[in-house]
């Protein structure tokens, strides 16, 4: 790596001569090499989906969650350093509950995303701190505006509002797949399946590596309450996804 050895990558407080902060870039690297995470803003809600790579075959299914509930109508998923991600989730929950206490209404998604971005960004400003090695995708619903929205906070502290977003190992492929979807008409029910297809499709060649698919929704049919999908729903989505992928592969073979 060009940066190592130059001395400009030892602290997030140091800019390199060409204006980069290597420590922040390294943090983003740890996100880029971990499980794929995608978020979709569908016509009637949000879908979050996450590929959880299992380090050990003896882990109990459903443990070490990467998709968490922040408040009644907001959920977040992260990828990267799991323990760093959990720290951000914890902060998100604190922000949500303190906002409700102060103002008497649930925190608006834009405000929550903004405050989390401030929190994450703070860790890129001090020599005594290191940036978070995790990206966070937020799916929230705001009753006052009657709108569900999707945000992603990156290790640099940047935050954007998305129709569809992806992070982790398969993000490039995921983004091209998401762009092919018609998100203005796609329902959450279909979105869950598409999300399963995209995440499964982008798995590494060593497909026998143990993994668990986590999906959650903030959907109109559940009154926009954030809910992790039932095991049966995920299993069905995965089955559908595998069929789709096989079909596609068969078609490609026919063309050859």
């Amino acid at each position: 790596m060009a940066s190592s050895g130059s001395g400009y990558d030892l602290s997030p407080t140091t800019f390199s001569p060409d204006g980069r902060i290597f420590q922040v870039e390294y943090a983003s690297k740890s996100v880029a090499s971990s499980g794929t995470l995608i978020g979709l803003k569908c016509s009637d809600g949000i879908v979050l989906a996450c590929e959880k790579l299992l380090a050990n075959k003896m882990l109990v299914p459903g443990s070490n969650k990467r998709i968490n509930t922040v408040s009644k109508t907001s959920g977040c998923a992260f990828t990267g350093f799991v323990s760093d991600g959990r720290q951000i989730v914890n902060r998100a929950r604190e922000e949500a509950s303190s906002y409700l206490d102060t103002y008497g209404i649930p925190v608006p998604p834009s405000v929550l995303a903004d405050r989390l971005a401030h929190y994450v960004h703070y860790f890129t400003l001090h020599g005594a701190l290191r940036p978070f090695g995790a990206s966070m995708v937020l799916g929230c619903y705001e009753e006052d505006m009657d709108e569900a929205s999707l945000y992603m906070v990156e290790p640099s502290g940047q935050v954007f509002k998305y129709f569809g977003c992806a992070a982790g190992k398969g993000r490039q492929g995921a983004k091209t797949e998401i762009e092919k979807l018609d998100l203005s008409t796609l329902t959450v029910a279909q979105g869950v399946k598409e999300a399963a297809r995209i995440v499964t499709m982008l798995r590494d060649d060593g497909k026998d590596k143990p993994m668990e698919l986590e999906i959650s929704t903030v959907a109109a049919e559940n009154n926009y309450v954030h809910k992790p999908c039932e095991k049966s729903v995920i299993a069905e989505a995965e089955k559908w996804a595998k069929e789709q992928i096989e079909e596609e592969e068969d078609m490609e073979e026919d063309e050859d």
Binding site: T102, Y103, G104, I105, P108, S110, V111, D114, D144
Partner: protein, 222 residues
Amino acid sequence: MASLLHPSQTSNPYNLKPGEVSSGTTIMAVPFKGGVVLGADSRVSTGTYVANRASDKIAQLTENIFCCRSGSAADTQALTDYVKFYLQQWEVESGRPATVKVAAHLMRKICYQNKDNLSAGVIVAGWDPVSKGQVYNIPLGGTCIEMKCAIGGSGSTYIYGLTDALYKENMGKQETLDFVKKSISHAMARDGSSGGIIRTCVVTEDGVEREYIPGNKLPYGP
């Protein structure tokens, strides 16, 4: 010895300190289909002395949220200043106009947290695009209740029966305004610490209309 009576039943309902200026007061707010009407008398007294006979007890919190003040003038002025400040911050952070609900919640929170040191009974009312016209009553202890017709201040005790009898569902703007003016006139006639003129404020989607009725033109009587 401390009185066993509820503060509202003693001759010093707001437990004011000697020399403290009170807004004696009759205040009222009623929502209607397109907005909300607020009304207040204008007398400010120190004991039996009228310190100001044409004061304004309707404070503006944001563009479209107002607040009727009763109790200690100093306390309620400080309170509205705080709430105004917090609402400005809220509007900057959220990028949209504050809702009446948020304003009432902030007011309640400060009133409740400082209940031992405050003598303030306020009515927060206004219009917002989310829930339209709303009225929240926040009396002495710091409860916050959304109401279809809120009255407050020492003069309000004289008009509970009147407002119960005159209130109707689905009143129009002019009808609500007349109802408020009439009720406050009757309170001012009976309550020694309410008087002067009536100030009213109508908040709708189209904006704010403020007016007053001089003391010799009050709609008192049948």
